[in-house]
């Protein structure tokens, strides 16, 4: 098996972790709407209680991991700042700088250890969500839906309410929010949402599933990387070096947990004039 590069990890992170939680919020919101709409026409059941429970649990695990890492990452930031402000870069042989570098390396190792402890649980939670969604997608959209009905579902004909665009949460592209906060939002939405459109449920489920797949791969890569990075850092401790790789890994962890990254463009929402009477051709599908 090929060893993943830091670039792989960073691109994987930006693809999955940032988007996944936002989608889960949407999913839970839409789920509530779907429940309300049940009983009128065929219902695509993509979010049964088991899937919701998996999502809730994944949020809890994310929060635990966040709590454990927050303090360490803050310390790393301070040490990095000190190193930079002390003009230590390129200052070979300076004893003060070497000491800061060793402290930084030691904190970095501490972060890797915490991640190493927490990642298996995160992996289990993510895989569980992925697996349950995979089953629902296969059954509901793969086996019980034809291409024609899938198209109708996506256009919202399976639902009963054509909600205005403002009611529909944007899919993907949200950042700058803590991972655990996002999951809390999802759960709050489930318990308090009064109504919501159901037409995007399939899209939301698909998006979460793909994100969970990427997340699962990312966790596996990260676990491999941690072992390698820990070994490298133990060696570096002898020389007191700060590598670009260290900065990249710390940056990636911050991105995952605290949403400190640039946003991706969300899918554009179509401008839809409400209240207009549309011409319906007898030839229309």
């Amino acid at each position: 098996m090929m060893n993943p590069t830091t670039q792989d990890l960073r691109s994987a992170r930006s693809g999955s972790w940032r988007r996944g939680p936002a989608l889960l919020v949407t999913a839970l919101c839409l789920f509530a709407g779907a429940v309300q709409a049940a009983g009128s026409g065929p219902v695509v059941r993509l979010f049964p209680t088991t899937v919701l429970e998996d999502i809730r649990e994944t949020g809890q695990v994310a929060e635990d991991m966040e709590n454990n890492l927050q303090q360490i990452i803050h310390r790393l930031d301070m040490q990095q700042q000190l190193y930079s402000e002390s003009l230590c870069e390129g200052a070979d042989g300076d004893q003060g700088c070497e000491r800061i570098a060793k402290q930084l390396g030691s904190t970095y190792l501490e972060m890797l250890e915490v991640m190493s402890d927490r990642l298996p649980e995160m992996e289990r939670a993510v895989n569980s969500t992925r697996s349950s969604l995979e089953k629902r997608l296969r059954q509901e959209l793969g086996q019980r839906t034809t291409p024609t009905s899938l198209q109708n579902t996506l256009l919202g004909e399976a639902g009963t309410v054509a909600a205005s665009q403002e009611d529909q949460p944007a899919l993907r592209g949200r950042s700058g929010v803590r991972l655990s906060d996002r999951f809390k939002q999802y759960y709050d939405l489930v318990s308090t949402s009064k109504n919501g459109p159901s037409q995007s449920l399939a899209v939301v489920a698909a998006d979460i599933y793909l994100d969970m797949e990427e997340a699962s791969q990312l966790i596996a890569f990260t676990q491999q990387e941690i072992s390698r990075a820990a070994l490298m850092e133990q060696l570096n401790q002898s020389f007191g070096m700060i590598t670009p790789e260290m900065s990249a890994v710390v940056g990636g962890v911050k991105e995952i947990l605290f949403g400190e990254s640039t946003m991706e463009s969300p899918i554009a929402s179509p401008p839809y004039a409400i209240g207009e009477t549309e011409f319906v051709s007898p030839l229309a599908m």
């Binding site: 995979e134 089953k135 959209l141 793969g142 034809t146 291409p147 899209v203 179509p270 839809y272 030839l283």
Partner: protein, 180 residues
């Protein structure tokens, strides 16, 4: 006797001449311009008098005319035109539906079928997506440029993106199920 023979010879010659007249390219040529409905009527007259094989060309010319004069009612005009042409027997109902939906409906004719998604669409997902992409270009012409209906075009564009995402996830889930 000789007069009768001449007459018998003259009939097929005249018939042949008449046939040549109706298949003459100049005869079927239509300068599609002006009012769209009038142009459609002209085209229909030609289609009813031996120029059936020019239907595709006429249709494209009518689309170009509509593009020059975009209007929300144009899709209705095309629907009526296709219905009339179908009634004339120039095209089938399926062809009429296919053309109308390809250019003037948000839904994609490229994504249709009666079997389940796992078995019908997933094995040819890339081809389906490629066909839908090509169809979106036609919808851009029909919906946006000819009918001045940007909202419907954006819905089609959105539907294409959503379909891509949903099919990717669903087909992966189908594949994972097959692997077990």
């Amino acid at each position: 006797m000789l007069r009768h023979a001449k007459l018998l010879l003259a009939v097929p010659v005249l018939a042949l001449a008449a046939a040549c007249t109706t298949t003459d390219p100049d005869y079927c040529a239509v300068n599609v311009r002006g009012d769209l409905e009038d142009a459609m009527r002209t085209v229909e007259t030609k289609l009813g008098s031996g120029c059936e094989y020019h239907f595709d060309g006429y249709f494209q010319s009518l689309l170009a005319l509509a593009e020059s004069n975009p209007d929300k009612n144009n899709r209705r005009h095309f629907s009526d035109h296709l219905m009339r042409v179908q009634d004339m027997g120039v095209i089938s109902r399926r062809q009429a539906e296919g053309l109308y939906n390809r250019y003037f409906n948000v839904k994609f004719v490229s994504l249709q079928g009666d079997y389940n998604t796992c078995s019908q669409t997933c094995p040819i997902r890339k081809q389906v997506m490629s066909d839908m992409q090509a169809e979106l270009h036609d919808k851009e012409l029909g919906l946006m440029r000819a009918s001045n209906d940007a909202a419907s075009f954006y819905r089609a564009d959105h539907l294409l993106k959503e379909t891509d995402l949903v099919l990717e996830a669903t087909c992966r889930a189908c594949q994972a199920g097959d692997a077990r």
